[in-house]
């Protein structure tokens, strides 16, 4: 009972504080902008903890956050091993290969209007397909190791990257191209100095979409066969054994890895496309 009351009291206090902060004259400041969502997240965790303990929810259904944190701290070794296998070896390598390939093919496609007309609609269509479904096929082809996960990721990130880069390469305006022409700049010079920089917002959009896809691909591919470590493998086997605290610990790792991965790309974007209106505001 005390857990329940405490959680609800905390929740009420946090909501009151957030409402007050959002209406106060500090609402535009950086500190408030960070503190309000932070408090919101903490409140969710406290509510979760209080409700699970207060209502005696079985840990088979939902373990409280403290139990998950304890499990996380107790098994950092295993989690690290899984992280390296899935994120570093599977997702990251596939991400690099897939994005580079998408980028390179996009530049080739861009040289021909015919290819653009033909490939863009098809690429758009393929990007909307449930490509993860090819995971079992690629696991059969490339074996249970990280190579097959990497292959799945390559296929998944390739199309969003291709479409976004091709679209980005069209972003430079005719006026700007004409200017380059009057400077007597050739194809490569125009590409390097004007069209590629102008394409960067689109390229980074593709890179950001691809981070999410890469993690999904690497984890799902492990459901179809993997060595006895890896995040997808662990989640599936621990869920089968009903030790959900371990599953949640893996999900926490996945969430952190996903957010950091995305954040790093967003940071690089900020440095590269500092001139773009969306970055200046």
């Amino acid at each position: 009972m005390i857990w329940l009351m405490g959680a609800i009291l905390f929740w009420a206090a946090a909501v009151w504080l957030n409402v007050w902060l959002a209406r106060s004259r500090f609402r535009g400041t950086r500190a408030v902008r960070i503190f309000v969502p932070f408090l919101f997240g903490v409140t969710l965790l406290v509510l979760w903890e209080g409700l699970v303990r207060g209502l005696n929810v079985s840990p088979i259904i939902l373990p409280p956050p403290t139990a998950i944190a304890a499990r996380f701290a107790a098994s950092t070794g295993v989690l690290w091993l899984d992280f390296v296998q899935t994120v570093v070896k599977g997702a990251l390598s596939g991400y690099l290969i897939g994005c580079l390939a998408g980028f390179a093919i996009a530049i080739l496609v861009d040289m021909s209007v015919f290819l653009q007309r033909g490939l863009l609609p098809i690429g758009n269509f393929v990007a909307a397909l449930p490509i993860v479904g090819i995971a079992p096929i690629l696991v059969k082809w490339y074996g249970f190791g990280w190579e097959s996960k990497s292959a799945v990721v390559v296929v998944m990130v390739f199309f969003p990257m291709l479409i976004n880069t091709v679209q980005g390469l069209r972003a430079a305006e005719p006026m700007q191209r004409d200017l380059m022409h009057t400077y007597a700049a050739g194809y490569w010079k125009t590409l390097l100095k004007l069209r590629l920089p102008a394409a960067m917002p689109f390229v980074f959009n593709g890179l950001k979409i691809a981070t999410t896809l890469a993690l999904i691909g690497a984890i799902v591919a492990e459901y179809f066969g993997s060595p006895i470590y890896g995040m997808g493998f662990r989640i599936q086997s621990e869920a089968g054994r009903l030790s959900l605290d371990m599953v949640w610990a893996e999900i926490a790792v996945a969430a952190i890895a996903g957010s950091v991965f995305y954040g790093v790309i967003a940071l690089i974007e900020k440095g590269v496309t500092f001139w773009h209106p969306s970055q200046r505001g």
Partner: protein, 288 residues
């Protein structure tokens, strides 16, 4: 219309590459068989064999299409071997997940547009949410649903697909609801319109193009979610289950035909949303 020829030629090129790949990848098995039987095969014979293997590593396109035809048109749609039946199961879960995702995305967008607190506290988390690989949750959601007594496989699949599709809707709708400019909002004020009226008569109508654009992305994401929800969970029905069964027991061609069926379904869903979009925007006088 100008793009028909380029699209067809790119498709032809992809098919050609596929055939070449099929010959190359399946030739190992053919050569091994021939070696064991002690026969020398000529090149046409090798090609012929690689394109008609029962358990090919990479089935040729015509084999996949034949399998697709066999499992859709030539089977009764109530049969468990019919892809129409499995497609229906997947479609059902996708539509439920999509409806749930649109409802969540819409209500969150309205809350964020109208309330500063929601904007400040929820928005950053909503932005982070798609970077969390929710598919990691799939096996667990199924186990938990079993533990609390929900036997229907539909619920966990719909939850996963709703999670994947709510974000595009949310982002699109926030943009859409904020699309009317200050002048228009001021005009509503001079009409003495209250919040509800300015929502129904100005904000919502002007958000429609954004809504449909994000719904097209959302429904594709919902289908991905459903199929992922079916993949790791030992589901018995649905296109994802078909892929799983094909992987574990059947010949690989079953995976390919299920994948094609999923692609057709995805195309159909996006096209349907596009049609509704065109019709609605035309009725509202917003079509370009």
């Amino acid at each position: 219309m100008k793009s028909i020829v380029p699209i067809l030629s790119v498709l032809a090129a992809i098919t050609a590459i596929w055939y070449a790949g099929a010959i190359w990848m399946n030739s190992q098995w053919t050569l091994d068989q021939a070696k064991r039987a002690g026969v020398e095969l000529t090149l046409p014979e090798i090609v012929k064999d690689t394109l008609s293997q029962e358990r090919a590593r990479l089935p040729a396109p015509h084999q996949v299409l034949a399998e697709l035809w066999r499992t859709t048109v030539e089977k009764k749609i109530t049969s468990k071997r019919s892809l129409v039946f499995h497609g229906w199961v997947t479609l059902n879960a996708t539509l439920w997940g999509f409806a749930l995702g649109v409802a969540i995305g819409l209500s969150l967008a309205i809350a964020i547009v109208y309330s500063r607190v929601m904007d400040l506290s929820v928005m950053p988390w909503a932005i982070i949410s798609p970077t969390i690989p929710i598919v990691a949750l799939a096996p667990m959601i199924i186990v938990v649903m079993n533990a609390i007594g929900v036997q229907d496989r539909l619920v966990p699949k719909a939850i996963i697909s709703a999670y994947l599709c709510f974000f595009p809707i949310l982002v699109g709708m926030i943009k859409g609801l904020r699309a009317p400019d200050q002048m228009q909002l001021d005009l509503m004020k001079t009409y003495n319109a209250n919040l509800r009226q300015s929502f129904w008569k100005l904000r919502l109508p002007s958000s429609m193009p954004y809504l449909f654009t994000s719904m097209k992305i959302g429904i594709a994401a919902a289908l991905v979610g459903t199929i992922v929800g079916e993949l790791p969970t030992g589901a018995l029905r649905g296109l994802g289950a078909r892929i799983l069964v094909g992987d574990q027991f059947g010949p690989p061609i079953r995976i390919w035909s299920a994948l094609f069926a999923a692609a057709i379904l995805a195309g159909g869903l996006v096209a349907t949303v596009g049609l509704i979009q065109r019709f609605t925007l035309k009725r509202m006088g917003m079509s370009r």
